[in-house]
C-alpha cells in the first residue's frame, strides 16, 4: 500500500508540472468562468434558471471534452514515459508492478477529476456568495457522473497504453475509440434505425452499451425525467430500468467498464515487456 501511494504521489507531482494539466485546468476553470461571465445564471431555458442552468450547460460541455482529454493525455503520458526511458529507470526501483500500475491510476484519477470538480465547486461557492440557490441534489449527482466518467475513460486509456507500444499508436487508438463511441450516439443510431438497417432493440442496446450515451442520457434525465427528447427510446429505458434504476445504472456500468478495462490493462502490462 505504501508503494501504491508513493507511486500515486509521484504521478500527481509529475502531472502537476506537465503542460497538458495546465491546459486541462484552464479549459474547465475557463468554462465555468465563461458561463458566469455570459450571465447564464440569469438566463432561463426549459424552466431552468440559476445554478442548475449553469450546471446543465457545464455537464454537457464537460461530456464533450472530458473523454477525449482524458484518453489522449493518459495514453500520451503513459506511452510517452515508456518511450522516453522513465519506465526503464523507475521500474528498476523495488516497486511491485501492481503498486506501480494502480498507483499511476490513482494519481492520475485525482489529477483528472480534481480540476473538473473544483470548477463545479467554484461555481457553487460563487453562487452561494451571490445568493443564488444551489441545487444540491443535482450537484451531487453530476459530481458522481463526472467522477464515474473520469474513471471510465481513464481505465480505457490505461488499457490502450498497456496494449500500444508507441505514443503514436496509442494516440491513434485512443482517438479511434472516442470516434467509435461518438458514432454510436443516439442521433446516429436513430438515423440507422429509421433506415431500417438495425432492429430498434439492437440500436437501444448499443446506445446503452456506449458510456458516452449513458452519461448523456443520465444528464438529460435530471432536467427531463420523462426523457421526452429521446423519443421512443425513452420507453425502453424507463420500462427496463425506471428513472431511479437508470440513474444507478449510469453510475455503475461506466465505473465497471473503466475498472474492467484497467484490470485487463494491468494483466497485459505485467505479462509483457515493461519499458
Amino acid at each position: 500500500m505504501k508503494q501504491l501511494w508513493l507511486t500515486a504521489k509521484l504521478d500527481i507531482v509529475e502531472s502537476l508540472r506537465a503542460r497538458w494539466f495546465q491546459i486541462y485546468t484552464l479549459v474547465f476553470g475557463g468554462i465555468v468562468a465563461l458561463l458566469f461571465l455570459f450571465g447564464l445564471t440569469e438566463s432561463r431555458v426549459l424552466g431552468f434558471i440559476g445554478l442548475s442552468r449553469l450546471l446543465v450547460t457545464y455537464i454537457q460541455l464537460t461530456m464533450a471534452i472530458l473523454p477525449i482529454f482524458v484518453l489522449i493525455t493518459t495514453v500520451r503520458s503513459v506511452a510517452g514515459d515508456r518511450e522516453a526511458g522513465v519506465f526503464e529507470y523507475l521500474l528498476s526501483l523495488p516497486v511491485s508492478l501492481s503498486a506501480w500500475f494502480w498507483g499511476k491510476i490513482v494519481g492520475r484519477y485525482i489529477v483528472v477529476f480534481a480540476p473538473v470538480f473544483l470548477a463545479m465547486l467554484g461555481a457553487v461557492g460563487w453562487a452561494s456568495f451571490k445568493d443564488i440557490e444551489v441545487p444540491w441534489g443535482m450537484f451531487g449527482y453530476y459530481t458522481a457522473l463526472l467522477a464515474v466518467m473520469a474513471l471510465c475513460f481513464l481505465g480505457i486509456g490505461m488499457l490502450i497504453s498497456a496494449v500500444a507500444r508507441s505514443t503514436d499508436i496509442a494516440q491513434g487508438a485512443a482517438f479511434m475509440v472516442w470516434l467509435t463511441l461518438l458514432l454510436f450516439l443516439d442521433l446516429i443510431l436513430l438515423g440507422v434505425m429509421i433506415q431500417g438497417k438495425v432492429a430498434p432493440e439492437v440500436a437501444v442496446g448499443l446506445a446503452l452499451a456506449n458510456p458516452l450515451q449513458v452519461f448523456r442520457t443520465a444528464a438529460l434525465a435530471l432536467f427531463d425525467p420523462q426523457l421526452i427528447v429521446l423519443g421512443p427510446s425513452a420507453y425502453v429505458i424507463l420500462d427496463t430500468f425506471g428513472l431511479a434504476g437508470y440513474k444507478v445504472f449510469a453510475l455503475a456500468y461506466p465505473a465497471a467498464l473503466g475498472l474492467l478495462s484497467a484490470t485487463i490493462g494491468y494483466f497485459i502490462f505485467r505479462r509483457g515487456d515493461l519499458p
Partner: protein
C-alpha cells in the same frame, strides 16, 4: 550470485539475445562491452526483470521478474540516458529512498561527495539539471543504499575528472561487498575499473575474460608534463583535469585517478607533438 541460464530474447523475429549463459560471482566487476545492438541493454533489462525472456535469470537464486521487490531492493542501477522526470530532485530522492528503505540523507551524502550542491537543487526539476548533475544524482541514488549488485550503463561518461575520481573511490569502498556490471561501448572507458570483461555481439557472448586486477580503484597517479610551447587548447584541456601550470605555463603537474589513466592518456595523445616530456608515477596511498 547472478546467473543467466540460456537466456534468449526475441523482438519481432529479431533474436537480440541468443542463449546467454553466465555466472557472475560476488565481488566481480564486469565490463559488459559491445557495439550498438549487441544486446547489452537487453541483457541488463532482463536482469532488472523489465523484459520477459526464455531461459532463466536469477539473482541470489531469485527470479527478478517474479520477486521484483526482493531482487531490485539489492540492485542499484544507473541508466545511460537519464529519464526526463519533471519531479523535483528532492522528491526523486525521497521516492527512491522510501522504496529502497534507505535514509535520504545517505543519498545526499554521496551526492555531496560527488560535488553536487544538493541543498540548492532539491526543489529544481530533475529534467532541468545539466547532464553531469543528473549523472551524479543517479549515481548517488544507486550508491546511497545497501545494493549488493551495481548495474551501471556508461556511468562516468558525463562526469568531470574530479567527480570520476570520487566515483572510483566510492566503487572501491564497495568492491568486496558488491558485484558490479558496467556497460560501455568501449573497453578503454571501463577497462581499469573491472576484473572481468564480457564482450557481446549479435546477442551472443564472444569474449569472456578475466583481467589482471592490478589497478587500484582508489589509487592515484602523479603526473608531470612538459610542453614545447604554450597552446591555449592544451591549457584548456589539461585545466579540466585540475593540473597546475608553472609560471611560464610550460610544465604542468597534477594527479589523476588510477582507473582514469587510459582516458587521460587518450586526451594527451591529441597533443603528442606538443609534449616534450611526461612522467606518470603511482602515488603512495
Amino acid at each position: 550470485m547472478i546467473q543467466f541460464n540460456n537466456v534468449a530474447k526475441t523482438f519481432r523475429r529479431a533474436r537480440v539475445l541468443d542463449g546467454i549463459s553466465l555466472d557472475i560471482r560476488l565481488g566481480e566487476r564486469v565490463a559488459l562491452i559491445g557495439s550498438n545492438g549487441a544486446g547489452k541493454t537487453t541483457l541488463i533489462r532482463c536482469l532488472l526483470g523489465e523484459y520477459t525472456y526464455d531461459g532463466a535469470v536469477t539473482v541470489n537464486g531469485l527470479d527478478p521478474r517474479g520477486n521484483r521487490t526482493a531482487v531490485l531492493g539489492s540492485i542499484g542501477f544507473v541508466p545511460q540516458l537519464p529519464p526526463p522526470l519533471k519531479m523535483p530532485v528532492g522528491q526523486l530522492i525521497d521516492f527512491s529512498a522510501a522504496l529502497c528503505g534507505t535514509d535520504p540523507r545517505s543519498i545526499h551524502g554521496i551526492a555531496k561527495r560527488l560535488g553536487l550542491d544538493i541543498e540548492s537543487i532539491l526543489s529544481r526539476q530533475f529534467v532541468r539539471l545539466s547532464g553531469g548533475m543528473k549523472q551524479k544524482l543517479l549515481i548517488a541514488i544507486a550508491l546511497g543504499r545497501e545494493a549488493r549488485v551495481l548495474v551501471m550503463d556508461e556511468p562516468a561518461a558525463n562526469l568531470d575528472p574530479e567527480a570520476r575520481k570520487i566515483f572510483f573511490d566510492l566503487l572501491a569502498e564497495r568492491q568486496n561487498e558488491a558485484t558490479m556490471i558496467i556497460s560501455s561501448h568501449r573497453l578503454d572507458e571501463v577497462s581499469s575499473l573491472v576484473n572481468r570483461v564480457i564482450e557481446m555481439d549479435m546477442g551472443k557472448i564472444v569474449l569472456d575474460d578475466k583481467v589482471a586486477d592490478d589497478v587500484s580503484l582508489s589509487g592515484t597517479l602523479t603526473c608531470r608534463i612538459v610542453i614545447k610551447r604554450f597552446e591555449p587548447a592544451f591549457a584548456k584541456a589539461i585545466d579540466a583535469w585540475r593540473f597546475a601550470p608553472s609560471d611560464d605555463k610550460l610544465v604542468w603537474t597534477g594527479h589523476i585517478a588510477g582507473p582514469d589513466r587510459l582516458r587521460f592518456l587518450g586526451m594527451i595523445s591529441r597533443y603528442t607533438a606538443l609534449v616534450s616530456d611526461m612522467s606518470l608515477a603511482e602515488a603512495a596511498n
